[in-house]
Assembly symmetry: C2
Homo-oligomer: 188 residues x 2
């Protein structure tokens, strides 16, 4: 059967996030998420493997976007510039859904297992970016160092951005963090 | 009862590592580890909470060592220099037990859940180092960026070191990685 539900995925994700924020992640069931979205559990499981997946389904798209941006950067681009340009594109994308990203971040930050899952996704992102740099001919350990440093900038800027509703936009915070990293590294 | 067993902890750790390498982590039981060490399961559980703990019991000592080195660095030391000096001390300590560290690394690298545990320990290390820098008056985001960059250097140098038995020592690989990070960051 399964009649078409307009934006079922988006409605499920928003309902899930509301419930996680209201009751906590552990206390929320898939049945409740589906009910809040006006959909069935069956529809939920057509879109997400489980309730944790709602929070992390975007990580594959983010990885693809970053890897493609690094791979597609002009040939003469320095490794760190390729990473910075890729993060700038991602930052613009997050900026468009700041409120959603902020709410998601608050749910993840409040739950140890979700924080761990986030760290693992970030490490996987760094490994993919290092691979993309090696594909551009960057040698190790420069490729891994640039990728890890870029992800550190992203992580720190993202946390500041998500924690400060009225503050600067994410691309700007990432540029500031890159400058700060350069200053702190040059001092060593 | 419990008669005193000379270096029970070290014998258990070495036996565990041998068995993890021979059979795999999942296929090894605590009973087998104790038997190989010539000790009882009861003695095992006096020293370690579970068989995973054998691989990670050193992380608290490492964290203490790094945090104390950062906190105790001379007042005028720049943030990244304080981190580099701390990692240099830790590197010397690892160098003294290179063979053990290499074997442990091979076991962790072969097992997804252990790799995740390692990432989480490294993230916790970065958070503690950032805290130690803030304790020295370093502002955010500089404190977190220096700490995350330092842990990236440590991670990448450690993997190279553990994977190359005849290569340079760990303190040297970390110094090279710091130089490389500076070069790659300055280029951005």
């Amino acid at each position: 059967m399964g009649r078409w539900e307009p934006d079922a995925r988006g409605r499920l994700a928003r309902s899930a996030l509301e419930l996680y924020a209201e009751r906590g992640f552990d206390q929320t069931t898939v049945a409740e998420i589906a009910r809040r979205a006006g959909l069935t559990e069956r529809t939920f499981f057509r879109h997400f493997a489980d309730k944790r997946e709602v929070l992390f389904h975007g990580s594959r798209a983010l990885e693809e976007l970053l890897v493609n941006a690094v791979t597609g950067a002009p040939e003469a681009t320095a490794p760190m510039d390729a990473i910075a340009a890729a993060l700038d594109v991602a930052g613009g994308m997050f900026e468009e859904r700041r409120e959603y990203a902020r709410r998601r971040q608050a749910v993840v930050a409040a739950h140890a297992e979700l924080r761990e899952r986030e760290l693992i996704k970030l490490a996987s992102l760094a490994a993919s970016l290092a691979g993309a740099l090696r594909g551009r001919g960057v040698a190790e350990p420069a490729a891994s160092l640039a990728a890890e440093a870029g992800i550190a900038v992203f992580k720190i800027a993202f946390e500041r951005w998500a924690g400060d509703a009225g503050g600067p936009d994410l691309p700007r915070l990432m540029r500031e963090s890159f400058d700060e990293l350069r200053a702190v590294t040059a001092g060593a």
